[in-house]
Symmetry: C2
């Protein structure tokens, strides 16, 4: 889940005759747009402040690999000599900084993981990264590449005393071709900075996600981030044209092509896209950026069944075609939780089992409004859709998005939430929610009073990408709930050839569950790749493959 930057001016859409304007939604002052990302945590997450446990306590089965050297003052001296500036090194080895100063690099923003790192390096160039990795490889020092540290699976923080190599000082936009739309940036450029740069040129970054204000483009590529624009602009495997990366032995792989077509050998960069820093560290990215749309329209619809929701999606693809930019689904349970927390007037008067938010983006506001109005009239006449509202201005547009974007936060308000970010073939997608709810009910774990741990089992997500967020809202952590959920959920997903991690990656959180989504053959081939590029295993150990 992500919040969106809105560049379009207020949208004045033509109203289909059967629809009411979305005044009900925008009349609520509480409908501020909130940016909060969904979490893949399998553990309960309280909103209250708590002391973050060390990952080594949460995962007592992990032990430090004795093949790695302990960091010494001599090692630190080398890095200080190399990087030249004090600002490029945060040294907990020589106690130059306190343990607290290390926390931003040792822990994740979810407060779920916490490492024992004592040394953070902030190289300012690819050459410095190369020298750092070569030294680490020669001296058996474990390394964790780190960008904006906004990941959700513990991939960008150390477990033990791995050295953090952070990209924040590598933050230059290297080049932009105003005709082809090809952007080349350092790995440490913040996604929103890149997107704002592009906005001034009339282009858009083909990726948008909740953490855009702090995540780094290098990290986005290393984790193959999906986000909100995948429906329209496809995955990074298609839009990234080139990368520059440093291999564990210090070799600089310069593959920063700016060409859309180049068929001269294996497309090696693809291994680094989604490789989560396990075979090298991305230092720069070349990416093809589409034209920014001038017009954005949003509709919010109530639907009587999942089958009708599928029909509505099919019709949206047919009738809205090239301007469809989002099709988000929400069940009534998720919307009820938003309503309960915010106490707002819901966008539609009645309640429906399902809702969808449809966004269009195009180059001509009048044309887009007409297409959307025709579509809405058609699906309401056919009774595919039961009711709906259409945003009449930017405020209403934000309010409607907020009904979708507010879910992750609101679901946790009752105490906590078990969250799964999964991908499932569309026809089966919502059945996982029904089956999980049934299982929880059958186990007597769900009810309206405090004696039951589970408040509700809800589902929402990026329908256009077959990406479901299954959320189990609970009053408290409960071993019985966890036992009812796992491995049930993973086995269910494996049974329909789904993915246990749609967009968040493996990291530490899902390392041990990969076999639910990948065959033994594939895992074995993946390990070959890891061993080929990182024979000493210094890159991001304890995670991924």
């Amino acid at each position: 889940m992500a919040c969106r930057s809105r560049l379009a001016p207020a949208v004045r859409a033509a109203m289909p005759k059967l629809l009411r304007p979305a005044t009900t939604a925008s009349s609520s002052a509480s409908l501020a747009v909130r940016c909060i990302s969904s979490t893949p945590s399998r553990r309960i997450r309280n909103t209250s402040v708590r002391k973050v446990k060390f990952t080594t306590d949460s995962y007592p089965e992990l032990s430090r690999d004795p093949k790695f050297s302990e960091i010494t003052s001599e090692h630190v001296a080398y890095f200080k000599e190399l990087l030249g500036k004090d600002s490029a090194i945060i040294d907990g080895v020589n106690k130059e900084v306190s343990a607290e100063d290390m926390e931003p690099y040792n822990g994740d923003w979810m407060r779920k993981y916490r490492g024992h790192c004592k040394l953070v390096l902030k190289p300012g160039s690819t050459e410095e990264v190369s020298k750092i990795l070569k030294y680490c490889n020669d001296n058996m020092l474990a390394v964790v590449p780190q960008g904006g540290n906004t990941g959700l699976v513990g991939g960008s923080v150390p477990v033990f005393d791995e050295i953090v190599v952070n990209t924040s000082r590598m933050n230059q936009i290297r080049s932009f071709d105003d005709v082809s739309g090809v952007l080349v940036v350092d790995a440490g450029v913040v996604l929103e900075v890149a997107d704002q740069f592009l906005a001034e040129k009339g282009y858009i970054f083909p990726l948008d996600l909740g953490a855009k204000g702090s995540c780094h483009v290098g990290g986005n590529v290393a984790t193959n981030a999906g986000g909100l624009r995948l429906l329209r602009y496809g995955s990074l495997h298609g839009s990234v044209l080139g990368i520059e990366a440093v291999l564990p032995n210090g070799t600089i792989l310069n593959d920063l092509s700016t060409l859309r077509k180049n068929n001269t050998g294996y497309d090696l960069k693809q291994l680094f896209i989604g490789g989560e820093g396990s075979i090298g560290m991305i230092t720069a990215v070349s990416i093809h950026c589409p034209q920014r749309s001038k017009a954005v329209n949003v509709a919010f619809l109530g639907v009587e069944s999942y089958d009708k929701l599928l029909q509505a999606f099919r019709e949206a693809k047919i009738q809205l075609g090239e301007i469809l930019s989002a099709f988000e689904m929400m069940d009534n349970g998720s919307q009820a939780l938003v309503h309960k927390v915010r106490d707002n007037k819901r966008p539609l008067d009645g309640e429906y089992p399902f809702y969808c938010l449809i966004e269009t983006s195009g180059s001509n506001s009048d044309h887009d409004s007409e297409k959307l109005a025709q579509f809405l009239e058609d699906v309401m006449e056919k009774e595919t859709v039961a009711d709906g509202v259409l945003a009449q201005d930017e405020t209403q547009l934000k309010a409607l998005w907020s009904q979708r974007e507010g879910i992750p936060e609101c679901v946790g308000h009752g105490g906590g939430v078990y969250k799964y970010d999964v991908s499932i073939p569309l026809k089966d997608l919502y059945r996982l929610v029904d089956d999980t709810r049934q299982r929880i009910e059958d186990a007597g774990l769900k009810g309206e009073t405090d004696e039951f741990p589970v408040i509700d089992v809800v589902g929402y997500g990026h329908m256009g990408d077959a990406n479901l967020h299954l959320n189990v809202a609970v009053r408290r952590y409960d071993k019985q709930v966890e036992e009812a959920l796992e491995p049930f959920v993973y086995e269910w997903i494996a049974g329909v050839d789904g993915s246990i991690s749609a967009e968040h990656g493996l990291g530490l959180a899902k390392k041990n569950y990969i076999s639910y989504s990948q065959s033994a053959t594939k895992i074995s081939l993946m390990k070959q790749i890891k061993n080929l590029y990182d024979p000493k295993g210094i890159m991001n150990p304890y995670k991924y493959i």
Copy 2:
């Protein structure tokens, strides 16, 4: 270059006031649509029938690797037992068929390559492919995977006596999801068959190329085919969701995911996309297919300079945005050659240094026509474009496309043509044509009479993808011309970080030139991958890396 399937009914576009209808083009009966692919040949290609030389004669430096076994009757007996049907084996070993019967598998359609293959296997299932490759690997028999054999670089035909494993019997459409648009097909499904299947469902295959009537989807993916739709739908690295492939040792890699999002480990399938059968044989493909557009419009414009052509492309992206589906460029030289061969009335009255063909595809014909008309009015008022015509019906639309699609054939009519399919950053793209022409002129090789070998140096291509076809039209083969062209052209491309093979791949033709587009580091890493997957080197030897 490729010819296009037209599904839209006749398009009646609104006419911008400054434009004439394209009656001049359509009034010529000679303007039939011709489908002919451009060729990457560095050698002259005569249109007359000639005896095809063995590749071993054209490339005398190649020698058969003695590590490979000679095929024996015993080997053939094994395959006959395995495949069960006589129809699955074409046996030149036991002289069951004549050398002539082997020709379709031994040679390419360009009549440029010819191997000495004696055994063609046509497995009917993935399991059979697995058993074939395992046996070949165990017995050191070299293998060439072959699809529709429509490649342009000699990648799909043997050089010596490699066994051809042809996918033509694996031709089933396995599944299609009408809501998500995900198609799963056997590798041997013909591209046009897949696209026609999709057309009935309202979808389109996200790839279109000249050989669509005979090329196989598996071959398209193995060569990372680009074609005409890349501008709109991106590369196969983005649209292919999964593959099934057999590794040289017989291991079946089942990665036929139908999910758009799946972040659980290295995306290994990417190595097979564009891997040209060098590390395994693709047996099935899963691909995300977009909605088919209902409306298609085409305009043909004359432009005074390359700078204005760049401006026109930039404006087309801004104003046509999401409906732009092709932006093809042609210089006057290429159009003059088409005119000379066809003796037709050209679409525009005057002559211009450059022409472009703009195609739009969208879901609403009226909207698209309006956008295109507004765009044309704008660029003509600004004098970015000097003159233009807009297709008024399907006949005119085809006639205009024919001005672009007819170039590859017409360029060769004077005797032959040296062809280069390259990718170059847009700003530098046409300069290669100018510089090459200058070089040929400086060498005294170009003129209007028979004493000069070169007729003209022309350029055209997929401007939207920065993909240039540099063509040197000649009267006859001439060593001086070749020496003037090479390595000049490759060095020029390397100097601007271009690609020596935009979409046709390496095969045998460009194997030795890869270093002009890839660094020694990358080539070394590619060889690691080859050795990892195919340690015995049985897959498609003598080619690629």
